[in-house]
């Protein structure tokens, strides 16, 4: 490659020469984000149900989520490597922990906003607890839950990049790290741009999901 390609602020040529790498990095980024938010969501549902069933646990649970969130990511990745190795699991443990602070409170407020009369009606129809939870409570709480998911997902898209620091994949973060290390702006700008595009993509998916919820449930829940 000609040296002149490396001089400007952004070289399209550099990107075209690496199309396959760019594609792989984007796919990796989507995978890491989806796993983190998906598993984080399931854990948050469990924690929120506990917090609502036994009221006194609500404060300690949200507090614990806040503590996890304040552990600096670099330190957490570094501390986990001796235990879980240079694996996807190491990156995901950290990423999943960081989703809880946004997901747990929004699921709790969402579930609590479901009117007691609706729950009574479901009981009256003979619904079991599990069925009532998944077919009545979760859909009615959807607006708040999706709002929490949007924030958690977009934040995770940004955080995934940090795992590139400690050689744990890191999706498009690898470009940012490369650009930073060599003071070369093209991969840096590419990494940031892809990170923003990925966030926009995920956000649009959630907006679509929100539209898919039947209008009546949307109105009732507000």
């Amino acid at each position: 490659m000609a040296q002149s390609d490396l001089d400007g602020f952004f070289s399209w040529q550099w990107v075209f020469d690496r199309q396959a790498t760019v594609r792989d990095r984007v796919i990796e980024h989507i995978q890491q984000t989806t796993i983190a938010v998906g598993v984080g969501f399931l854990i948050s549902i469990a924690l929120s149900t506990v917090a609502i069933r036994w009221n006194w646990t609500a404060k300690p649970i949200t507090r614990a989520a806040a503590i996890l969130y304040t552990i600096p990511s670099l330190a957490l990745f570094t501390a986990l490597i001796p235990i879980t190795g240079l694996t996807l699991l190491t990156a995901e443990i950290a990423l999943i922990s960081y989703t809880l602070i946004n997901l747990v409170p929004s699921i709790i407020t969402g579930l609590q906003s479901v009117p007691a009369s609706v729950l009574d009606a479901a009981d009256g129809m003979g619904m079991g607890r599990a069925r009532r939870f998944w077919t009545v409570q979760i859909p009615l709480a959807a607006p708040q839950i999706i709002a929490g998911l949007r924030i958690a997902t977009v934040t995770t898209v940004g955080l995934v990049t940090i795992s590139s620091f400690v050689a744990l994949g890191g999706g498009v973060g690898a470009f940012i790290n490369d650009g930073r290390a060599r003071a070369f702006s093209t991969p840096l700008v590419l990494g940031v741009a892809l990170s923003i595009l990925l966030a926009v993509g995920f956000d649009l998916l959630f907006i679509l999901l929100e539209r898919l919820i039947p209008p009546r449930t949307r109105r009732t829940a507000q």
Partner: protein, 221 residues
């Protein structure tokens, strides 16, 4: 756990220019400056946008996407500019990245706070002949205070935890312990640094919760 304890109880780790005291106060000062700048921008902006009939949702979505911009990328992008303009390494590049990090939560919570005010309250203010400015100061701002402070609290937590990345651009804060510990495989040092950050963040959160309760006595149970 014992290693963290040893790190924290060795008095040599506390004093000096690169000690815990100096770095904690640098970390505190940087977080204060960043959150103050972010609040000064985000709160008025949130109140202003909340008054729009259309387009507020779009601005909120754009702000939300801002969270996806990695802080360490902002650091890397700002560093050369900061050096060229004479702001140097360390403090100012980190402040820029932290302000960018703190803006979205404060803006979005201010927006929600103002938007969820009961319309009849605003009508009452109009009916009393309040000007726009009086309505903002005496009605909207107080009613949105709980949400605004919640936003500031979330941002403060994020800033205190993330300002550790400042060590990458030679900011000597609590992140320096993490960076040094990582570089030299000194586990007590980076875990100790992380523990200090967590304690510091929780302390700041408790403080802001107390402020919130003081400022909004009507929400106390």
């Amino acid at each position: 756990m014992r290693s963290i304890w040893e790190f924290l109880t060795t008095s040599a780790n506390w004093g000096g220019r690169r000690g815990i005291w100096a770095r904690t106060s640098a970390h505190l000062w940087l977080s204060l400056v960043s959150v103050a700048i972010a609040s000064t921008v985000a709160v008025p902006l949130g109140i202003w946008v909340a008054g729009w009939k259309r387009g507020a949702g779009a601005v909120a979505a754009i702000m939300n996407i801002g969270r996806a911009i990695p802080s360490f990328a902002i650091l890397a992008l700002v560093l050369p500019i900061s050096i060229r303009w004479g702001f140097g390494l360390g403090f100012w590049p980190t402040v820029v990245a932290m302000v960018a990090l703190a803006l979205p939560p404060i803006f979005l919570s201010t927006l929600t706070g103002v938007r969820t005010i009961d319309p009849s309250v605003r009508q009452a203010a109009d009916g009393m002949g309040m000007s726009r400015w009086e309505t903002i100061r005496q009605v909207e701002l107080p009613l949105a205070t709980p949400q605004i402070i919640t936003g500031i609290r979330i941002s403060t937590l994020a800033v205190i935890a993330t300002a550790t990345l400042g060590a990458l651009v030679a900011f000597s804060g609590l992140g320096s312990f993490i960076e040094e510990g990582r570089a030299s495989f000194d586990q007590p040092r980076y875990l100790g640094g992380a523990a200090l950050v967590v304690m510091f963040a929780l302390l700041a959160e408790s403080l802001l919760l107390a402020v919130q309760r003081l400022l909004t006595p009507w929400t106390r149970p």
